[in-house]
């Protein structure tokens, strides 16, 4: 059986890659994609731990289902906001949108 730490390392790598994208990309849609990658890394951890922990019920998988639900809601609302941004500013680059910046 594959050691648990391999799966946790994979989750950490996905999380880190997504984090880099969320911090550096200029396009708002690319940032949303990077956030989805981070959520996937978290889900890998949840499911790996729910598989490997002794006496675990399937609570980790239930939680992963809720994470996926929230990710879907986040993507829908986020993309609606991006469409509204594009309509008003003709750009989706987050560093050009500074209406509410101090």
């Amino acid at each position: 059986m594959i050691p648990l730490s391999y799966y946790l390392t994979l989750g950490a790598l996905l999380f880190g890659v997504g984090m880099f994208g969320a911090l550096t990309r200029r396009n708002a849609i690319a940032i949303l994609m990077a956030v989805e990658l981070m959520l996937n890394g978290v889900n890998v951890n949840f499911i790996a731990l729910s598989r490997y922990l002794p006496n675990s019920t399937l609570d980790g998988q239930v939680f992963a289902i809720f994470v996926i639900t929230v990710a879907a809601a986040e993507a829908a609302v986020g993309l609606a906001i991006v469409l509204g941004l594009y309509r008003n500013f003709k750009t989706v680059n987050v560093d050009e949108i500074n209406l509410m910046k101090w």
């Binding site: 594959i2 730490s5 994979l10 890659v17 911090l23 991006v82």
Partner: protein
């Protein structure tokens, strides 16, 4: 044999994720995201979570990436050739690599499991039972959240004055 599958899937997933983040063309990013999600679904199968793998393919591959592609088509000038990264690439790289290093260190050293992993279980029926007994309140809250997100998305994406 399982190790071979695991490493193949892991390399595939992380490579696709890197492509998502680094590709200059955002459509390439979205397509690479599909492959990364499929790789994660394969990892779920290796972890005996068949239901989650199916959900992953249905919702992420079938739903979210299509939504993202639609939004890309509606908003971005793809062949603009503009800079895709902002000016804080260096600092972000340090932060991301540092966080990943801490997480990997924690997962290699910090977690010691005492005891045997449970035997393979009937996941789908158990998940359905858990969702309607122990976790019924978050389940209902999630349905309200989805409804609110749907209404909110419609209102936000609607043009003014329609």
């Amino acid at each position: 044999m399982t190790e071979v599958f695991f490493f193949a899937l892991a390399v595939f997933t992380v490579a696709a994720a890197l492509l998502v983040v680094l590709a200059r063309n955002i459509v390439h990013s979205a397509v690479a995201l599909i492959f990364s999600f499929c790789g994660v679904a394969g990892i779920y199968v290796l972890l005996d979570a068949e239901f989650l793998a199916a959900v992953q393919v249905l919702i992420y591959v079938g739903g979210i990436t299509i939504l993202l592609l639609f939004a890309i088509m509606l908003t971005t000038r793809i062949a603009s050739g503009a800079e895709v990264f902002n000016e804080q690439v260096g600092a972000s790289a340090v932060v991301a690599v540092g966080t990943t290093a801490i997480l990997i260190y924690a997962s290699l050293v910090g977690i010691q499991i005492s005891g045997q992993a449970p035997a393979t279980r009937e996941t789908t029926s158990t998940l359905g039972r858990l969702l309607l007994t122990t976790h019924v309140l978050p389940f209902e809250v999630a349905s309200v959240l989805l409804l609110a997100a749907m209404v909110g998305a419609i209102i936000l994406a609607r043009r003014e004055g329609e």
